[in-house]
């Protein structure tokens, strides 16, 4: 929530921190000199907090253009002998992976910790990737904290480990750590980063196949460290009937499940703080004493497979032993085994089945009396915020496509505007993959003319995505003479993750004013024609889109309007209301356009009056609905300086 708890110089005090804040605190205590990130949920707040404290703690922090560049910057600081941290979401690791696998081979100097935040259940992601598999591919040590306290503790430990091994260490967090809050006991803040950054003329950090051996040796060394590491721990009876092997928040779920079921005498819990490499001796010791093993982890069966292999290699020592988890179907959330988040109930069900005891959270008819009164509880769909410029942009695009009359293909991207694949964007978006991939696809589709493809192609990206990943695709399209319209939905900020600045914002993570990198100048330098329009002027935006749809070659339309909720906070907003005399209600023939079709949350319906209505607590005063109402029944009243 803020940097205030993270900054406290009060060792031993217990404060409330989120997991993200706790990682930031751990990094401060470890004495980092460099922090970099590209914002991604659920980890965006780590760098936000660090950037707020960089000045007073004397280190450097930046929002990088993408995760690969972020990692390269942090690696450079490490090679110069400094401690550095690089933070990204799971999808970002895919972008940075090429550099990460090479860094692991070349080795590093100052402690480099790579924080990767996975999003089981994809609360704010398009997929639920388990980044541990990629950490394993990169031959990295992977640490998994269970809660904010461990997030702080393990971050501090990770720096020491990275320096001992002379390689990056990966801290794998999940949403239920990043966005959870809990008590964190603070450690000591060191003096400002000491030691002058330096790379000696004899030092070399070269990636070469010869170093594969060193990577393997390093993992063997880490495995030995893991054997006695306090974050790998067992609790429970000496000879448990059921051994739960778990990591991350799964540990807390398992502990509570055991408590709820009263299975303390029969179940032991082995918690892996180091998920890779596995502490094999430690694991074998406990595997020998159990007869059933239950794996509790998110998302994929990573431990299940790796420990399963260990069991297979030591079959005679551990026999008889049965393995349960996602593969057996025992650990299954509502969506099924290996899909979505797990929780305490997931573990309760699995343990109850293995222990052969019944469990029912509530009698099956709980809630019956309520359901009799309220037959249907409407779902809540996500939509664009009130006043969001994207709503106007999608309506303009829908209108322009209808006017054009051809079967226009709309390629999408990752960001708030991914909601454009749903009702908010009139289901226009036909593809959603990765940052910038819609532009690469447009480049490909634009070359299919000789094979008979004649549909117009529109690619949509956000402003932050434009810099992150669209630029190489745009160069490719220009070079290979493709044809499509790139529409940049430019709200001036990385809105999805909490409006962080980007190269076009003119401000850095440290709050320093810098020249904004104009996307029209970037595209213009490639020789691509650029048009800029305000989406709030819907009619003008439709005309621009219609005209550009009919042009050839690669062309760019920037639909630019600052993020609605930010501006609403800064300025006195105009009052927008419906004139009930002019609104014709259902007699109009507009089919309740403002509330039903345009779908802004501020456009509601007054059932008693049978007229449209504006919810003034939600309305940002953008006035777009007023320009679209066929009766002109929506009034925008500008607020004067002295006005209410």
């Amino acid at each position: 929530m803020s940097a205030s708890g993270v900054r406290l110089d009060d060792p031993g005090r217990s404060v409330l921190l989120t997991g993200n804040e706790a990682v930031a605190r751990g990094a401060l205590e470890a004495g980092i000199a460099y922090a970099s990130s590209y914002p991604g949920s659920p980890s965006a707040e780590v760098l936000e907090v660090l950037a707020a404290l960089a000045e007073e703690r004397g280190f450097y922090a930046e929002w990088s253009v993408n995760e690969k560049v972020a990692l390269e910057g942090a690696a450079a600081a490490s090679l110069a002998g400094l401690r550095s941290i690089c933070i990204m979401k799971a999808d970002g690791l895919n972008v940075a992976l090429d550099t990460l696998t090479a860094l692991s081979a070349s080795g590093t100097k100052g402690g480099l910790v790579v924080v990767v935040a996975d999003d089981p259940g994809a609360h704010s992601s398009v997929k639920e990737e388990d980044s541990r598999y990629l950490g394993k591919v990169a031959h990295l040590v992977i640490l998994e904290p269970a809660d904010p306290q461990e997030a702080r503790d393990m971050t501090v430990a990770a720096f020491g480990l990275a320096e001992q091994l002379r390689a990056p260490v990966m801290l794998r967090c999940v949403t239920r750590v990043c966005h959870a809050s809990g008590n964190v006991v603070l450690g000591t803040l060191p003096p400002k980063p000491a030691g002058r950054p330096h790379i000696g003329c004899q030092e070399r950090y070269i990636t070469h196949v010869a170093y594969h051996r060193i990577q393997e040796e390093r993992l063997a060394q880490a495995r030995e460290i893991g054997e006695g590491w306090p974050f790998n721990a067992y609790q429970g009876p000496p000879e448990p009937e059921i051994l739960v092997i778990t990591a991350g928040p799964g540990y807390l779920y398992a502990r509570e499940a055991v408590e709820v079921l009263g299975l303390e005498g029969r179940v032991g819990i082995l918690k892996l703080g180091m998920s890779w490499p596995l502490p094999e001796k430690f694991l074998l010791r406990h595997l020998k004493s159990a007869s059933k093993v239950l794996f509790v982890e998110e998302v994929e069966p990573f431990h299940e497979e790796n420990v399963g292999y260990l069991v297979a290699c030591h079959l005679e020592e551990v026999f008889p032993l049965a393995l349960y988890g996602k593969k057996s179907g025992h650990v299954a959330g509502p969506k099924g085994p290996g899909l979505g988040e797990i929780d305490v109930d997931t573990v309760i069900r699995a343990l109850a089945a293995l222990a052969g005891i019944p469990y029912e959270a509530q009698p099956g008819d709980y809630g019956r009396e309520a359901r009799e009164l309220v037959k249907k509880i409407p779902r809540r769909e996500l939509g664009f915020c009130a006043g969001c410029p994207h709503r106007a942009s999608f309506w303009a695009l829908k209108t322009a496509i209808a006017l054009d009359g051809r079967e226009v293909v709309v390629l999408g991207d990752i960001g708030c505007y991914t909601l454009g694949a749903g009702r908010s964007g009139h289901y226009l978006m036909q593809t959603v993959h990765a940052m910038g991939s819609g532009v690469g696809m447009a480049s490909g589709l634009g070359k299919l003319e000789r094979l008979g493809f004649s549909q117009p192609v529109v690619a949509l990206v956000g402003d932050s995505t434009f810099y992150h990943a669209a630029v190489p695709a745009l160069i490719n399209a220009r070079y290979n003479q493709s044809r499509f319209l790139l529409v940049v939905l430019d709200n001036g900020t990385t809105a999805m993750t909490g409006h962080q600045p980007h190269p076009g914002s003119g401000v850095t993570a440290l709050g320093k004013r810098v020249p904004a990198l104009s996307m029209e100048e970037v595209a213009g330098a490639f020789g691509i024609p650029v048009t800029v329009h305000d989406p709030y002027d819907v009619k003008g935006a439709v005309e621009a889109l219609y005209r550009l749809l009919r042009q050839d070659g690669v062309r760019v339309l920037v639909l630019r309007r600052a993020y609605a909720l930010l501006t609403a906070r800064q300025e006195k907003k105009p009052r927008v209301y419906v004139d009930p005399k002019r609104c014709l209600g259902d007699a109009c023939g507009c089919h309740r356009f403002c509330s039903r079709v345009f779908g802004c949350p501020a456009n509601t319906w007054d059932a008693a009056l049978g007229r449209a209505k504006i919810d003034e607590t939600v309305c940002t005063g953008c006035g777009v609905c007023a320009t679209l109402c066929p009766q002109g029944a929506i009034v925008v009243e500008e607020v004067t300086r002295n006005g209410a």
């Binding site: 929530m1 803020s2 217990s14 404060v15 409330l16 949920s41 659920p42 609360h123 704010s124 992601s125 809660d147 306290q149 949403t175 239920r176 966005h179 959870a180 809050s181 809990g182 008590n183 928040p249 807390l252 779920y253 502990r255 509570e256 709820v260 929780d343 305490v344 109930d345 309760i348 959270a361 509530q362 709980y366 809630g367 009396e369 309520a370 359901r371 009164l373 309220v374 249907k376 509880i377 409407p378 779902r379 809540r380 769909e381 996500l382 939509g383 915020c385 009702r423 908010s424 909720l565 309740r592 509330s595 039903r596 079709v597 779908g599 949350p601 456009n603 509601t604 319906w605 607590t617």
Partner: protein, 214 residues
């Protein structure tokens, strides 16, 4: 003993901030706290639910198991019932805001929003008691409907269902905000405390329903 509190509402209603105030007040009062919440849908109209777990000696995970909530604070009637059906039990106490926030499907006419009275009655029937009132309206009287989250937090504090004293919450709110925002939030919080204590002045024209349930 663990207090399992659910604070539920819609993106933009300030549930996350309210859960932070409760959690920080608990930490300040010497308790162990775990809060689980999902930021992804904040400000985009989705349901937003925070789980706050307060205990004296033992750490808990950030998610409350099904049907084990001891208190549900609902910032929106529909979301209150939704949370109660999933996490409630006949012993769960409920504090609910009666001001509805319509889902996109309702705005578009595809769905119908249930009658608020029916929602409140449904909540009453399957819980151990409900304190229901229009917190948004009270917040509006205090200066801004946005402060409804602090009115609800005040009602929770004033209900004394949790082991923290009212001043512990006020200290947190005082430290979180500055200037006019501090005044507004403290005022809204104190109005909520009054509602829970049954001392709400009648001039605000708000109907407060306090029912012991069955």
């Amino acid at each position: 003993m663990v207090h399992n509190l659910i604070i539920t509402g819609v993106g933009g209603q300030g549930t996350v901030l309210a859960s932070h105030v409760v959690a920080a007040a608990a930490v300040e009062s010497g308790f162990l706290v775990a809060v689980g919440e999902t930021f992804g849908a904040s400000q985009r109209g989705g349901s937003v639910t925070s789980h706050v777990r307060i205990s004296r000696y033992r750490r808990y995970g950030p998610l409350i198991p099904r049907h084990r909530a001891t208190i549900i604070v609902g910032f929106e009637p529909l979301e209150t019932l939704r949370a109660l059906l999933n996490y409630g039990n006949p012993l769960t106490r409920v504090i609910m805001n009666l001001h509805p926030n319509y889902p996109l499907g309702v705005l578009s006419g595809a769905d119908t929003y249930p009658e608020t009275q029916a929602l409140m009655e449904a909540v009453r029937r399957i819980s151990a008691g409900v304190l229901a009132f229009n917190a948004t309206e009270i917040a509006h009287h205090m200066g801004s409907p946005v402060a409804a989250n602090m009115v609800m937090t005040g009602a929770l504090a004033g209900s004394e269902l949790l082991p923290m004293a009212v001043p512990a919450y006020e200290k947190v709110i005082g430290e979180l905000f500055s200037g006019p925002a501090r005044q507004l939030n403290l005022k809204a919080f104190r109005a909520g405390v009054l509602v829970a204590r049954g001392d709400l002045p009648a001039v605000w024209g708000n109907q407060v329903v306090k029912d012991g349930g069955k």
